[in-house]
Symmetry: C2
């Protein structure tokens, strides 16, 4: 792994969950309303020190369904007097309804690039996830966030037996130090032993957190946090605080264990066959172990805004909905 030389620490790494920003059950459909709200909240969170509410749109490209770009451009010449300084964030997004179909149809996650179907699926998966990446970069840019798409596979991320073997921290650091917001994503990557596999956004987040040591990490999801059983179950209980010990094991602190089903861990694991929530909690626990607070919260809510702004770092209000994962010595 290469050395990282950041000029300053970064404030926050944010995961935009695939389920929160896309329409899960419709192929390659973005949840435009959520994405717009998430982008706006990110701008507010990054812009904390600024008194200006003026948004300097940075997407000057044509858009489907928008007649022309002249309205975006009319303001450009007036914008020079505004500063565009943002606090140091990194954004990583999942795939949601992009990439999933292509990957599962071809078995990219299982490797075997020598097979034509896998090779074609590798190309098709990357087309789909980079399409989503571009749309997210554009949505952030429209909010005036100076975002830079960085596609992990093409930036040199690769794995060995599904574990990250090489990563690009210097490109991310350089972009941050130059005042930009890198936007990475879950991607199909080369694997030294398997040929190829899928590198999830959650794993990327954990590696970035280890190397960039942000002040806090936020996972934006489509549910309010981590529950003791499927959130669709009317008896599901939101786990408000999880403590991670030196040994990496985690335990529920709030609600108090006495009031809870003792089999929380097993139930959480069982309701998630895709590995989504389990991976998320495992990766979050590894991040928390570094002493970095992790917030898992529903995207595009007042709760997510609080988490993104870093308001929960010293005090978590009783009416805040979400899961905090914290290191506990």
């Amino acid at each position: 792994m290469e050395e990282t030389n950041l000029n300053q620490t970064i404030r926050c790494i944010v995961k935009l969950g695939g389920a929160a920003i896309t329409c899960k059950n419709e192929l390659e459909k973005i949840n435009e309303e959520n994405l717009e709200t998430v982008s706006s909240q990110l701008r507010q969170a990054m812009n904390l020190g600024s008194c200006s509410n003026k948004v300097i749109g940075m997407d000057w490209s044509k858009r489907d369904g928008v007649s022309d770009i002249s309205s975006t451009l009319a303001d450009i010449d007036d914008q020079c007097q505004f500063t565009v300084d943002f606090s140091r964030f990194v954004v990583v997004h999942g795939a949601g309804s992009f990439g999933h179909f292509q990957a599962s149809k071809s078995g990219v996650h299982k490797g075997g690039l020598i097979q034509p179907l896998v090779k074609a699926g590798f190309v098709a998966t990357r087309i789909s996830v980079t399409t989503l990446n571009l749309e997210i970069v554009r949505a952030l840019a429209r909010e005036g966030i100076p975002s830079i798409g960085m596609s992990p596979h093409s930036c040199g991320w690769s794995t060995s037996e599904r574990n990250v073997a090489s990563a690009d921290f210097s490109g991310v650091s350089k972009a941050i130090d130059s005042g930009f917001i890198p936007v990475l994503h879950g991607d199909a990557v080369f694997d030294d032993s398997l040929g190829c596999t899928i590198l999830s956004g959650d794993v990327i987040i954990r590696h970035l957190a280890e190397h960039l040591r942000p002040e806090y990490v936020v996972f934006l999801t489509d549910v309010s946090g981590v529950y003791d059983r499927p959130p669709t179950d009317p008896n599901a209980v939101l786990l408000r605080e999880i403590a991670v010990g030196e040994d990496g094991k985690w335990s529920v602190v709030k609600p108090t264990p006495q009031s809870m089903n003792k089999q929380v861990e097993i139930i959480v694991a069982a309701h998630d066959t895709t590995g989504g929530m389990v991976t998320k909690i495992s990766e979050a626990a590894l991040i928390a172990k570094l002493g970095i607070d992790v917030y898992i919260v529903k995207a595009a809510t007042s709760h997510s805004l609080k988490a993104l702004r870093g308001e929960l770092r010293h005090n978590i209000p009783d009416d805040w909905l979400g899961t905090v994962i914290r290191f506990s010595r």
Copy 2:
């Protein structure tokens, strides 16, 4: 500069000229017909050794104006028996009507990232050129070419006083060795001294040629080659062969100098204020000096197909229209 460890030499680096694949005078409009023909010719050129004409589509994403993707997908399961081996090519494309507006509006090429307008323009330019890159990757993938978009800025290309200071050859080599076709493009990049600038596709081609040493290089343009004056001038003469000496200077070999205006070099330089053709010839001369033949030819013609297939390497037919630039000891 890093070391390059290619398993085998690559056959060809191709430049898809911005003017050849986009509609010059219409903002962000692709010349679909040309792009489709170019993609098909590239497949034919890369597929030389194969007896199969079956195209295995690798773009499984939704497309505007195409009702659904089921037709693309119907064949996927049947495709497993076909090999998808392609000879080793690298594709680099220009920007054409993508990126140019955003770059010139903001002055990204002049640097000064501290200015909000330049910073916004950097983001806007990259959105525009990566949009084009994605469309080209998709067009190639539809032809069954296993293409991988590699955006120079995010892959670590940067400049110092507009000269390439760092480049990503290992990512390109790794993709080629794994059986993929990397697709790079002219891009907005960081510059050590200026903050940022524009790195042209032609300069990228030359650097790739120096490090990857392809057998030949093809520039696909919107005119038949290099002329002695603007091609719109009815008296313009196509320069069929240009020789480059050890000193890097070039001279017209064909048509013979006796039959030509003596001021060719000056006239060529004068008719091109944007630096487009002059840059192209300078970069092509530097490539030729390495002993690598360069063909400048009109895209989507029978002549471009001959060039792409490498048919001109030993003998150039009298009826071939284009410009050959060659090293001459």
